[in-house]
Every structure is written in C-alpha cells, then in structure tokens.
C-alpha cells in the first residue's frame, strides 16, 4: 500500500515554483503545482493533498483568500504559508487566515525540509 504523500505548491514565481517542486520530489513526495490562488484553491479542494505550500501574494486570488476559502471548504490538512517579508504583519495574517506555519523567502532547502517534515511527519497538525 503506497504511503507517498502529496504536496500542492502554490507559487506564481516560476523560478521558485520549479525549485520547490524539485526539492519536494527529492524528498520522495508527489507534487502538484498551481500558479495563482484560485488554481490552488480548486486543486486543493479536488485533490485533497496532504499539505499545501501557499505563497501569500499571488495574482487572481491571493494566498490569504485561498487559505480562507480552503478552510471554509473543509480542507483540514496542513497549510504552510510562504511570505517574502521577514518582518511585518504578513506572517501573522497568514496564521490568522488558517496557515499552520509560515516560511520566509528566500527559502533555503534545509528550512523547506524541516518545515515540510514537521507538518507531514507527525500527521497531527490540523486546521486551528
């Protein structure tokens, strides 16, 4: 019985999206991707990945709105927000919308591994 977990990467920056997808596949994960918040919301509600990595600033629909919509739609798996701002309210707002944790860009491979491992490893983190 396969235990491969699925991660949805929602990121409008093509460079970062490619890199993160590669790093996640190297971790043995199955990867889906979206390039805006609406696409991310629709894919997540349909495919029900084990984890969503959500860039908070995306076109069409922001990551904030996508996260709110996912939680309202009953998506209970972990969501990790990706933010470009080390300081400021963006990280706090991401958590308030329903993210379980936040990673700050530029994302180092080590931080990605630790962050993803933390939310997928225990399987205990759910929507707050």
């Amino acid at each position: 019985m396969g235990t491969e977990k699925t991660v949805l990467v929602a990121e409008d920056n093509e460079d970062i999206r490619e890199l993160v997808c590669l790093q996640l596949r190297d971790m043995g994960l199955r990867v889906l991707s979206a390039c805006n918040g609406r696409e991310a919301m629709e894919q997540a509600l349909q495919a029900r990945p084990d984890l969503v990595l959500m860039d908070m600033n995306m076109p069409v629909m922001t990551g904030f709105d996508a996260v709110r919509a996912l939680r309202a739609g009953g998506y209970g798996a972990p969501i990790v927000g990706l933010t470009a701002y080390q300081e400021g309210p963006e990280g706090e707002l991401a958590l308030a919308c329903g993210c379980n944790r936040v990673l700050h860009k530029p994302i180092r491979a080590r931080d990605l591994r630790e962050g993803v491992g933390a939310v997928l490893g225990t399987g205990k983190e759910t929507a707050t």
Partner: protein, 116 residues
C-alpha cells in the same frame, strides 16, 4: 632625425579579463539553475527599458522576485541585489536603480555555476 623627445612610448594597453564568479551548487539543481540564470539574463534589456521609461513598477516587481529566488537557487548576492532594487524602485531613485542594474548585469554575465 627624430629627437628622443618626440618618441613618446606607445600607451600601454593592458586588457584584463575578469575571472568568472564560480558558485558551487548541488548536482541535482543543474537543470534548473541554467534555466534560472537564462531567464534572469533575458530580463536585463527590459529592466534597462523600464529605467529609461520610468517604469519603476516593473523594476520593483523584478527586484521582488529576484529577492525571493536568488538565495534559494544558491545565489545570495542576487537576493541582496533584488531587495535593494525593489527598495530603489519604490523610492523612484533612478541613480540607485542604475547603479544596481550595472551590478546585476556584471554579476549575471560573470557568474558560473559549478555542480558537485
């Protein structure tokens, strides 16, 4: 007869080739890094045009993206330049943007990833 005083030595012309900036990166990143650097280099002419036309919005967007991606790909200097470019664009500081574009061009034309 030509006097010694008129025999000025030919000016010394020394052409130096700046060494490549070698960055060591993991082997599995090789296919992505080539595309990444290619895209960044391809953005340079549009950045110049944006500066000429005063389109600081475009410059700021490119700087913001570069800030987020540079270090992730193993080029922390690109993240630094991106951050500064984004700030200079927000301030509509043409002189600073010009300086940063020169540094960005210099780096992108000389950086050479080496995969290990």
């Amino acid at each position: 007869m030509t006097s010694l005083a008129t025999l000025a030595p030919a000016p010394l012309r020394v052409e130096t080739e700046e060494p490549a900036l070698v960055v060591l990166l993991p082997r599995d990143m090789e296919p992505l890094v080539g595309r990444f650097l290619g895209r960044k280099r391809a953005e340079l002419p549009a950045l110049r045009q944006a500066l000429d036309s005063g389109d600081y919005g475009h410059i700021g967007d490119v700087g913001h993206d570069l800030k987020g991606a540079g270090s992730a790909f193993g080029f922390p200097l690109l993240s630094q330049l991106g951050r500064k470019l984004s700030q200079a664009a927000r301030a509509a500081d043409a002189d600073e943007v010009e300086l940063l574009l020169e540094r960005l061009e210099h780096y992108l034309l000389r950086v050479r990833p080496s995969f290990i």
